[in-house]
């Protein structure tokens, strides 16, 4: 039990370290190039400093889902994601097979 707690603490510490590292890296870089002032560069911010209504831009798209979930569009997106994963998996597995064969041939 203590072992598991220790492992969880280690994992959380690593997550915290990576998070802190990423945060300072991005904050420093964005302030160096003058992007720290969000209001100046982000036209989406309202006058009182609050954030505008929900607007999805996950994975770079301009998917508007502020009116709630859309099952049809969501399922379409899910299929696209699955297709992308399948294509990459197929390519890597085939590459591994080719590499395996060439290694076996080289040995014989």
């Amino acid at each position: 039990m203590i072992k598991i707690v220790f492992r969880i603490i280690v994992i959380l510490l690593v997550i915290a370290l990576v998070t802190a590292g990423l945060y300072f890296l991005v904050q420093n870089n964005s302030s160096n190039i003058g992007l720290s002032s969000e209001r100046q560069f982000n036209p989406q911010q309202t006058q009182d400093g609050s954030r505008p209504a929900a607007r999805g831009n996950f994975r770079g798209g301009d998917h508007e889902f502020e009116n709630g979930a859309s099952l049809l569009r969501g399922l379409g997106g899910m299929l696209v994601t699955l297709f992308q994963i399948a294509i990459i998996t197929l390519i890597v597995v085939q590459l591994q097979k080719i590499l395996g064969r060439s290694r076996r041939l080289a040995r014989s």
Binding site: A53, F58, F65, S70, I85
Partner: protein, 166 residues
Amino acid sequence: MSTKTNLILDITIFSVFLAVSNPAITGLAVHEWLSVAFIAALVTHILFHWEWIATLLMQFFKKLFHSSRLNFVVDSLLFVAMISVMLSGILVSRVVAQALGLNLAAGPAWRSIHSVSADATLVLMALHFALHWKWVVSSVNRYVAAPLIGLIRRPAARTAPVGENN
């Protein structure tokens, strides 16, 4: 931890990942809260594979190249990409930040980082999946396909006439 438990956990994580990576299916609020919950899934996944990670980490510098090293590099990059998605997601979040009473002054860079790291996570997740393909196939065959085939065959065997096997 048994292979069956690992498989169930991995299928669950993958399903949640699919739902989280398509916020249109869940809506913004569920997308944000599910992403926060995903941290627990990530920790559990690492915890379940602790021995494997520890062994790889020890052997990392021993050999110049082996497939486990590639696995380790991909997994580490996936870990960083996932943390980037979660961190940037929390920083640009509206529902979670509001619920927790946080006033996060995230710069516009975080929005781009959220998109880029989400794309990177998808690619790395696919690579992670591909590099563990043999394990996935053997586990699915053993714990999903074989029991299903057994279920289909059993009723067929029951309904078959007694003298048919002679």
